[in-house]
Amino acid sequence: MTRLTIACGSLVCAVVAGAMLSSSMRPRAAAVPEAPVTHTVAIDGTQFQPADVAIKPGDSVTWVNRDPFPHTATAGAGAFDSKEIAPGASWTFTAKARGDLAYTCTLHPTMKGTVHVQ
């Protein structure tokens, strides 16, 4: 029933569904904060794929190295630095503040990406 309410999404749906529920099961009126999401960036073919990711504060980005040699995901001003991510390994960064974090691979300066924390 709760799932149905969420699936409906609209206020009308919520009200109708809410009216059908017992008072103890009624959905909370206040908006529930969205759960943090983990986004994946593949490092493949000496490229960040996708090069641009848009996330929210609290969300995470996991870089997965699918190349047969190491890479890094290193942002300016010390925002984040994976250090070397070995072949087959991954590394996760959790964003706190909003901002556009441009990053590169220190081993391959042609590789560029940006994490947009919005």
Partner: protein, 172 residues
């Protein structure tokens, strides 16, 4: 002067041999890939110890690490495919060209070494990239071998661009 002669010789060497490599089979491609990587690993190992410039040293380490990784992938794949790398004109030419490069580099030191190493890395990656595009990828018949070449190609582009950036900075 010695350096200039070497670089010219080096750039004449490869296209001729690669031109003769049209229609190579997968066993020959495997040998060319492994040799091409090994040649750059050998030069990188020398440069790691002899280079003066810190950025050149780091680049050399990246070359050793990356080409070792590519060779491991290539070796794993040919083992799985039960392909025995077959020596051929191109792989032999790459090997002798690499030996000549290392011999020439051993006679240099300091900034002259750095410049010669990086100049060769620019020419070498450009030539290997041309071979990958014009000969190796078009000739590869096994889909996994072709996919491996396609997957590692951007690394060679990144190496070439990195080497060109260093070349420009050393020239200042």
């Amino acid at each position: 002067m010695k350096l200039q002669v070497f670089v010219v010789a080096g750039s004449l060497f490869l296209p001729v041999s690669f031109a003769a490599a049209q229609g190579v089979n997968d066993a020959q491609i495997a040998s060319i890939v492994v040799t091409a990587n090994q040649v750059d690993i050998d030069a990188g190992n020398l440069a790691k110890s002899k280079a003066k410039n810190e950025e050149v040293k780091k680049f050399a380490q990246t070359m050793v690490t990356d080409h070792t990784g590519v060779n491991k992938s290539a070796t794993d794949l040919v083992t799985k495919l039960k392909v025995t790398p077959q020596d051929n004109e191109t792989s032999q030419s790459l090997k002798s060209g690499g030996e000549k490069n290392v011999a020439a580099l051993k006679g240099l030191k300091g900034a002259a070494f750095d410049k010669a190493y990086i100049d060769h890395e620019v020419a070498y990656h450009q030539q290997v990239l041309d071979a990958v595009d014009k000969t190796l990828i078009p000739s590869a018949s096994n889909a996994e071998l072709k996919a491996l070449l396609v997957k590692v190609r951007p690394a060679f582009v990144a190496h070439l661009e990195h080497a060109k950036t260093l070349q420009a900075s050393l020239g200042k």
